[in-house]
Amino acid sequence: MTSTAAAGSARKDAQDKGSTTTLGRALNEGLRQAMRDDDRVVLLGEDIASLGGVFRVTDGLAVEFGDRVVDTPLAESGIIGTAIGLALRGYRPVCEIQFDGFVYPAFDQIVSQLAKMRARSRGLLRLPVTIRIPVGGGIGAVEHHSESNEAYFCHTAGLRVVACGHPQDAYDMLRAAIACDDPVIFYEPKRRYWDRAEVDLGRPVDGDTVGRARILLEGADVTVVAYGPTVAVALSAAEVAAAEGRSLEVLDLRSLSPLDTTELCRSASKTGRVVVVHEAPVNVGLGAEIAATVMEHCFYNLEAPVERVGGYNVPYPPARAEGDYLPDLDRVLDAVDRVCAP
C-alpha cells in the first residue's frame, strides 16, 4: 500500500533528518501558501505577529503579509467573534488559540454563533473560519496547557473537526481546512510539532485530507483507531505487536467530525476487533462515538467489545504525573490483548 509505505518512510525520515520538515514548519508553510494564494486569508491570534506564536507556527508571516497577521487583544471570545465578522465581510480568517485550555472563553462564539450561523441564515451565509488549536499533553506543561477537548466540538453540529498526526498531513490538511467554506476546528498535536518527515510542499489543495480517514498500516488482527498525537503511539504499538506476531491495522481518523464511517467500518469489519486511542477523558469522549458507531454497523462482525484507551476521567494531572495519565504503548498493547482474548 502506498499509504503504508509513506508512513513507514516518514518514520524512517524522522531518524535521518535529511531534507525533512517538522510538523510545526509544515503548518507554517501551509499558512504561507494559503496566504499567498488568497489575499482574503488573514490570521488572528495572541502573539502571532512579531513573536510568531508561542509555538512559532506563524513565524515570519507578519514580515511577509504585514497587517494580515493580527496580534489581537487578549480575549478569545473576541478572536472568534471578530473572525465571524471578517468572514461575513468575505475574509477567510485563521485563528490561533494559544493553548487548548484557553478556547473555552470563546465557546459561546464557536458553538452558538460560528457553528449555527449558516443554518440560522438558511444557507445564505458562509463562515470559512479555521480555528487552530495546539492540543494535548506530553510536553510537561502547567495546567490548561495539555487538554484534549475535541469531543465538545465534535458534538456540535455545524462544525468540522479535524486533527493532523504527521507533517505531510499537517500541511495538506491545513490548506484544505482554510479552503473549506465551513468552520473548521483544526487540532495540532503539540507534542508532535518537532516531529520530522519529508513533506511535499507543492501539493495542491485536497479536500479529502480533511474528510477521509486513512489506513496508515494494514493489519489483520486488530484495528487501532487514533488521531492527532496518538497516531504515533498507535504506530509504535503496531511495531511491538508485530514482533509478538500480532498484526495491527492503524487507522488515522483525520476527520473527527464528521467521522469517516465507511473507512472505520470497513476496517472494523475486517479485523473484528477495535481499540480506540485518544488523550481526552474516555467518558462521553470521541471513543464512545466510535464504539457506538462500530457496534451499530459491524455488530455481527465484532469478536470483542470495542476497547477505549484514553485519559482517565479526572482533570488533567500535574505534569509529573502525566506519563501515567496519557495512553501509551503499554496501555494500547494491554487493550489489544483484551480484545484478542476477551
Partner: protein, 365 residues
C-alpha cells in the same frame, strides 16, 4: 420598587444628554443649528417611519395573541431611537442588530414576512443580510457586537468607506462580549459605531442593577468617542448619529451613542411586567412619547396637516393588513432544509441521516 427604577424621563434631559425637541414638540433651534438642517421633509419622513413601525409592532403583537406567532418582542416606545439612527446611516453602512430593531429593519426595506418568520417559528433568521446590509437578529446577547467589530476590520482592510453600526441593550452591556467589543474597536480603530438603546430594563432587571455609571462614560473609559442622547427625540438621535457616523467615516475613533429610551411594553409577549414595575413609571414615560412630540412639532410648524396625518395612518393600516396576510403565508419550515443548510456541502453522514428521516416520515403518509 422605586429603588429599582431606571433613569427617569427627567434624566433624559439632563445637561449632558442631547435633546432637540422636547415632549411638547418645541424645537431647540439653537441646539439644532450647529448640528442639523431641520427640514419639513426630514421630520415628516421620520414621523412616517415611526408611525409605520409602531403600527407594525402592534400588529405583530396581535398576531402573537391570535396564535400566529410563537413570541413577539415589542419595540413600542423605541421608535425614535431606531428610526432616528438608521435613517442617519448610508444604505450600505452595515448594521448588526440585536433582536428588537423592527423599526430600523422596516426602514431598511425588510418585509413583514421576513421580520415575522423567526417569531412564527418558521426560521431562525430569514432575510438576506447582504441585500439589506442588515445582519439577521442575534438572540444571544452582545455576541453581535464582536461580529460588527470584525466586519469593520474587514471594511478597513478593503479601504471601504462604509461604517458598521451595531445595536445592543442596557442589559447586554454587562456581557463580556460587549466589553471586549468596545475595547477591540478602540484598539483597532475600526470604523464602527455602537448604539445602545438603554430602555431602562432587561426583562425585569432595572438599569440600576445592571451598571453603576452611565454607559457612555464606560465607553469613554475604553477610549471611544461617546455621547448621550434623548432616545425618544428622533431629531436628536438622527443628528447625533449622523455626526458620529460621519466622524467615523472620515477616520475618527470608533463611536458610542447611548440613547435613553423606554420599553413601553413588557419584554415580550411571554412577559408580565406587572410583576416588577409600577404603572406610575409607565405613566411618566407616556408623557415622553417619541411619536407624539414629532406630531406636535409638525403641526406647530405647519409642516403637516390633517390630510397628511390621515395618509400616514392609512399607510400604516395598509402595512398592518399586509403584515397579517404575509404572516399567514409564511412557508412552513422543513427539517430537510436544516440538514442541507448545516454545512456548505451536505456531508455523507448528513445525507444519510436526512434520507433516513425522510423515509421515516414518509412511512406515516
Amino acid at each position: 420598587m422605586s429603588t429599582n427604577s431606571p433613569a427617569t424621563p427627567a434624566a433624559t434631559h439632563a445637561d449632558d444628554i442631547l435633546r432637540l425637541v422636547d415632549p411638547a414638540g418645541t424645537l431647540n433651534e439653537q441646539a439644532a443649528a450647529g448640528m442639523l438642517d431641520v427640514t419639513d421633509e426630514l421630520v415628516r419622513a421620520l414621523y412616517r417611519d415611526m408611525v409605520l413601525g409602531r403600527r407594525f409592532d402592534q400588529e405583530a403583537y396581535s398576531l402573537q395573541r391570535q396564535g400566529e406567532l410563537g413570541l413577539w418582542l415589542m419595540s413600542l416606545g423605541q421608535e425614535a431611537a431606531q428610526a432616528g439612527s438608521i435613517r442617519a446611516l448610508r444604505a450600505d453602512d452595515r448594521v448588526f442588530p440585536s433582536y428588537r430593531e423592527h423599526v430600523a429593519a422596516l426602514c431598511r426595506g425588510i418585509s413583514p414576512a421576513e421580520l415575522l418568520s423567526q417569531w412564527r417559528g418558521a426560521s431562525h433568521g430569514s432575510w438576506d443580510p447582504e441585500r439589506y446590509h442588515f445582519h439577521i437578529y442575534s438572540l444571544v446577547l452582545a455576541t453581535q457586537t464582536l461580529h460588527a467589530v470584525g466586519y469593520a476590520m474587514g471594511v478597513r482592510y478593503d479601504a471601504g468607506d462604509s461604517v458598521v453600526f451595531t445595536y445592543f441593550g442596557d442589559g447586554a452591556s454587562s456581557q463580556g462580549d460587549a466589553n471586549e467589543a468596545l475595547n477591540w474597536a478602540a484598539v483597532t480603530s475600526a470604523p464602527i459605531v455602537f448604539f445602545c438603546q438603554n430602555n431602562g430594563w432587561a426583562i425585569s432587571t432595572p438599569a440600576s442593577k445592571q451598571y453603576a455609571g452611565p454607559l457612555s462614560e464606560r465607553a469613554k473609559g475604553f477610549g471611544l468617542d461617546a455621547v448621550s442622547v434623548d432616545g425618544n427625540d428622533v431629531l436628536a438621535v438622527y443628528a447625533a448619529t449622523q455626526r458620529m457616523v460621519e466622524r467615523v467615516r472620515t477616520g475618527g475613533a470608533p463611536g458610542f451613542i447611548e440613547a435613553h429610551t423606554y420599553r413601553m411594553s413588557g419584554h415580550s409577549t411571554s412577559d408580565d411586567p406587572g410583576r416588577y414595575r409600577d404603572s406610575a413609571e409607565l405613566a411618566r414615560w407616556e408623557a415622553h412619547d417619541p411619536v407624539e412630540r414629532v406630531r406636535l412639532l409638525l403641526t406647530a410648524r405647519g409642516w403637516a396637516d390633517e390630510d397628511y396625518f390621515a395618509a400616514v395612518a392609512s399607510d400604516a393600516e395598509e402595512l398592518a393588513a399586509q403584515t397579517r396576510q404575509e404572516c399567514r403565508a409564511i412557508a412552513e419550515p422543513s427539517l430537510s432544509d436544516t440538514f442541507r443548510n448545516t454545512l456548505c456541502e451536505e456531508t455523507e453522514a448528513l445525507r444519510r441521516e436526512r434520507e433516513g428521516f425522510e423515509t421515516f416520515e414518509e412511512s406515516f403518509l
